[in-house]
């Protein structure tokens, strides 16, 4: 190294992407890939096990909602819709629940190396995303086998996926960065995630919901996303989010909450990131 190369650079302290975005990306990729491999190559039936969970849930719910409550029989293609929704929601739920303690369990890395804080929850989401990719392959095989015709709107599905992904990342950032300070975030989020599972049109389509409850459901930013996905992939005749809500204006609260959560995530994470090492 020549003397000229000795340029002094300010030490800025720990942050969300400390050490540069290129390094963060490499770390993110490496961690998510190794985590993914670990899950799937560690056991003989690796991937099958992880697919078994949504499939089992699907089987039970399908039995309950077609045989007991008979809601399923009023909805066209209820079985595929249910599987599709469970897999999509499963991604959101799995990623955010895993993210809560992710920074805390990586304590030694956070406290003893220079590590971009944001990479930890992002790696959890990315691992879940790999998982979702595999599950979606199975789901689409199932959809085709069910006899649903592919339409051009399938090409729009990645847009919905991206919006769900962004929300998942935002929630993961919030819960993982707050957990070191408030340990009960873990319990609170477990409960909230369950509430969301029932408060999102996963088990039922939006049109069977009574008007009074529908207003509540429409505040949930996941509701329009799931309705969009349903309309674009499963059933082109289904009411889209706007039709279900009555007007585009009624989708504003959900949009505002969606954007609010994203902004909050960035603000909270940037505020907490430099302090996490001290609070663990």
């Amino acid at each position: 190294m020549t003397e000229q190369a000795l340029e002094l650079r300010e030490v800025r302290g720990p942050s969300a992407l400390g050490g540069g975005s290129k390094r963060s990306l490499e770390l993110l990729y490496l961690i998510a890939v190794t985590e993914f491999k670990q899950t799937y190559f560690g056991t003989v039936l690796g991937y099958l096990w992880s697919l078994a969970r949504p499939l089992l849930l699907f089987g039970v719910l399908l039995a309950v909602f077609t045989q007991v409550f008979r809601i399923g029989s009023q909805v066209p293609n209820y079985a595929v819709l249910l599987l599709f929704n469970i897999v999509l929601f499963g991604f959101f739920q799995e990623a955010t629940l895993q993210a809560v303690k992710s920074i805390a369990t990586q304590e030694s890395i956070v406290r003893k190396t220079q590590f971009p804080r944001l990479v930890i929850p992002l790696a959890v989401v990315l691992t879940a995303l790999f998982n979702l990719g595999l599950n979606l392959v199975v789901v689409f095989v199932f959809i085709l086998a069910w006899g649903i015709e592919p339409t051009w709107t399938w090409l729009l599905f990645p847009v919905v996926l991206l919006m769900i992904l962004v929300l998942t990342v935002a929630v993961s950032m919030i819960v993982s960065s707050l957990y070191p300070r408030f340990r009960d975030i873990s319990i609170i989020w477990t409960v909230l995630a369950t509430v969301l599972f029932y408060g999102t049109p996963v088990l039922y389509p939006i049109e069977v919901v009574p008007e009074t409850l529908k207003d509540v459901l429409l505040i949930n930013p996941l509701t329009p996303l799931f309705e969009l996905a349903r309309m674009w992939v499963i059933d082109p005749t289904a009411p889209g989010p706007a039709e279900a809500a009555g007007s585009y204006a009624l989708l504003l609260p959900a949009t505002a909450i969606y954007l609010g959560v994203c902004a909050l995530a960035v603000w909270i994470f940037n505020r907490e990131a430099p302090l996490i090492a001290e609070q663990l």
Binding site: E7, E10, V11, L30
Partner: protein, 403 residues
């Protein structure tokens, strides 16, 4: 000399809650609790420079703030005020093997760790062979870390650190707590790194290391810079601080409590019976232990001692003596700059293994605690008769059948 670390007015205060508010409910039900923080000023207005190619020691008692400073330099903690500027790639080594995943193979771990230390993925993969070679673990590259022995793990972790080849290495003392042979190896490597222009910052309270290895050092006490400069002087001030009065103020301590012995080792070697210098010793053959010490200031009534330690750093035995003049007369003082050759001879009861030699200078009288330890190069005893215990003792034993 180019400056590679420039710290100006660095401050760090930890807010330690009396009652840790860990849950939202407590926060909601006791909104006023928030005010109950105890402020711990870990670092106060700290400014210093470290130059390129320097082996720089940071010393201080426990809780003096030295580790916090290291973590601020490493971007693990954020400073509250002041600024630090550094040049080149910086890698902290606060503990060996941080981020190792036991479920992954050595190959995956080495690459992952390399990226954590700031290498690119390609660069980390390229250095894989060098790391494994250094660790002598080429055959185990596909073995999961959980199947490694702890010794293999340490070797791998250390190799990763060495091969990361950062321009500035920030090292915490925890690295040196391994067995004595390992810490010796660490020191050898740090020395080598320094000789190729790397800068090393070592946080420690082992003064032997500071005196033996560091070019310069600084002493931090209660978060404040007490001294920066000559390594020997730093070590001496640290001793004064530690053996001083209970409240840590120096100058008021009784003479007995202050280590005022100040000497440095000029040369040290082992000899065989014929007086030839040797590196390693055959089991059972007598060894001559030789150390030449130079007094940095006048030594009054000194006692010189040699200790032999095993790999784990436990002393096995020691020899000690008072100095004599060339004509055999007893000396009660050594003038500043005077040199003394300490020559010991042992029949060598040591079992095969690696040993370390330490030289101590005491002051006669009650001040036995006032000492200066100087680490000397170690040696190996080779042979085939390994036995129970740590030394072989000559003796007679017989087994007679009872009538």
């Amino acid at each position: 000399m180019a400056v590679v670390i420039e710290a100006r007015g660095v401050e760090k205060t930890f807010r330690i809650p009396h009652h840790r508010v860990d849950s939202l409910k407590e926060r909601a039900t006791h909104p006023l609790r928030r005010a109950e923080y105890r402020e711990l000023r870990a670092l106060r207005d700290l400014s210093f420079d470290v130059h390129k190619g320097e082996f720089f020691g940071v010393v201080g008692r426990n809780g003096s703030g030295k580790s916090s400073l290291l973590k601020i330099m490493a971007s693990i903690y954020a400073a509250d005020a002041g600024r630090i500027r550094m040049a080149g790639r910086v890698a902290p080594f606060i503990e060996l093997g941080v981020g190792f995943n036991p479920e992954l193979t050595a190959r995956e771990n080495v690459v992952l760790n390399g990226v954590m230390m700031g290498l690119s993925r390609r660069e980390a993969a390229r250095r894989l062979d060098a790391v494994l070679e250094f660790a002598e673990l080429e055959e185990f590259v596909e073995l999961k870390l959980k199947n490694y022995s702890s010794g293999m793990m340490v070797r791998l972790a250390f190799a990763v650190m060495v091969q990361a080849d950062a321009d500035v290495m920030l090292i915490d003392e925890v690295l040196a707590v391994g067995d004595a042979a390992f810490s010796q190896k660490c020191m050898d490597v740090f020395h080598e790194k320094r000789s190729v222009g790397r800068t090393i910052v070592l946080v420690t309270h082992d003064m032997a290391t500071v005196q033996g290895m560091c070019d310069r050092a600084m002493l931090i006490h209660d978060g404040e810079l007490q001294y920066i400069g000559d390594a020997e002087e730093t070590a001496l001030r640290y001793y004064r601080l530690n053996f001083g009065t209970a409240d840590g103020r120096d100058g008021e301590a009784g003479p007995a409590a202050v280590p005022d012995v100040h000497a440095r080792v000029v040369d040290s070697w082992l000899e065989d019976e014929s007086g030839r210098r040797i590196e390693n010793v055959e089991q059972g053959t007598p060894i001559g232990l030789n150390v030449v010490v130079e007094a940095r200031e006048e030594l009054a009534k000194p006692i010189f001692a040699l200790h032999v330690l095993n790999q784990n750093g436990s002393a096995i035995f020691g020899l000690e003596t008072t100095p004599r003049g060339p004509d055999g007369e007893a000396l009660d003082r050594i003038a500043a700059g005077g040199r003394v050759r300490i020559a010991g001879r042992i029949d060598n009861p040591l079992l095969p293994g690696r040993y370390l030699l330490q030289c101590f200078v005491y002051r006669e009288g009650a001040a036995r605690g006032a000492l200066q330890a100087i680490n000397l190069p170690g040696f190996v005893v080779f042979g085939t008769r390994t036995g129970p215990g740590i030394v072989s003792v000559r003796g007679d034993v017989e087994a007679v059948a009872e009538p």
